[in-house]
Symmetry: D2
Subunit: 148 residues, 4 copies
């Protein structure tokens, strides 16, 4: 699963970080955009008790929120300068309870096509220094040419 190494848009990093900055849902939950490379993106989320489900673990929907955005920005990094990205579908396996003090979602491009891009999604929980893969899946993105 090597990320494609060449970005068409040399200014992709600013473009992706600007888009992330406009995602108000990320601010609400306290997520930040970490490492970004051509075809890969990482989102970090510290645990907060207001993000939990009934057993006190991170809600699967919040896990999905950071996974979906990590994949979306991995894909956007490889798209032409004047384009936008939409998730058309994703599937996520929840492998273990999302228990930990922080969570890291990584999106990695598996195939970057002209119209559709396929990503792998992974979310790791860090709990007392121990990392556990808590979510794993795949995503389809669509490249929308032209400005918003």
């Amino acid at each position: 699963m090597q990320p494609c190494v060449q970005a068409k848009d040399p200014g992709y990093e600013k473009r992706v970080r600007d888009s992330f900055g406009q995602q108000q849902a990320m601010r609400l939950i306290g997520a930040t955009l970490g490492h970004l490379g051509p075809g890969t993106a990482r989102i970090d989320l510290p645990f907060r008790s207001d993000l939990t489900q009934q057993d006190g673990f991170l809600h699967a929907g919040i896990v999905s929120t950071i996974a979906d955005s990590a994949g979306g920005y991995a894909g956007l990094s490889l798209m032409p300068a004047d384009s936008r990205v939409l998730t058309t579908e994703f599937k996520l396996h929840l492998l273990a309870p999302a228990r930990g003090e922080r969570f890291t979602a990584t999106g990695t491009v598996v195939k970057a096509g002209r119209t559709l891009t396929i990503c792998e999604l992974r979310v790791v929980a860090t709990d007392g220094g121990k990392d556990t893969l808590v979510a794993y899946g795949t995503q389809t993105l669509m490249c929308i040419p032209g400005p918003a």
Copy 2:
């Protein structure tokens, strides 16, 4: 897609509503549990600008959050009294931009097995009195016997 009509636990409604009340993520985003029947559950979410992605629509992850919980509670309604529910995986198609003043997620049990339950997930956006199906997918739930 008829919901299974018989709940094993006559007290399922209280059990489901108590569990929903413990989902702090639902409170954070402002979601409420609406209609509940054996094998079906509905979650309502008014639009808020702090739940959006970069284009001002509801973030796909927030759409997923209400869809996942609606399916989970549809499934839990049919499970034995002393059991818990876990999502093991779900897939969601994002059919149209999640634009609207409110959103309704519906989970419907397609097959309730002893260990695994399969649900259909739908999210409808209401925009100026017009309803649009914005998300559609399927989910696998696992029944965990015994108390938490």
Copy 3:
């Protein structure tokens, strides 16, 4: 899940049936194209012991083969005359052992977009006059403009 009622191409039925006739895999397994309407298609498959997995039931891959084609032709029925269809992804839940004397796969269009079409897939097994839903899922199709 109402199929879209209007086909853009009034000659869609001949076009779909011609395409099905070119699927040699369908001939190999003995599947035939049944009812076809705008946004819906049905494929019938009688049981044969050479289509089985290790327990003597229809192999999940064969179940997928008829489900995928049923969805593909449901989608193609709504596409413009001079276009082709590709499956970009599908997900299938295998709800029960595929045991029976015949199997019916139905594809139904949920959303027909200009580029992408989303379908619901269902496979029913008929065993001694009793019908059981054995597979259920969703699919993304892509419309490729122009001749092959």
Copy 4:
């Protein structure tokens, strides 16, 4: 994506190969079981024109058939001696036309649980000495204790 290195059943290879030998669908399409290790399995399929879809490429359902079995046997290799395996769901992205003189499906266990096992599925086409990833996805398997 390292396969889990320890098989519970030291005789897993014979058990998996015996099960594969009973899959009549594999014989019909001409697939053989290649490399097998704890948590990983490979299935090889030479191209045959009677396995094609309307454009002459390998049918997506046949691609799914070898992918599903590769994942199933990757999972079974890690299960206890006296158990069986069922696919409960899988999702497959079809990344490129399945064109080539032979196809290799690889299943790799991502998480082996007591009841559920999650696998990654990959299918590579070899065409004139060049390898292309043509399908990629994930799968949920269920371990059924006890003999058939």
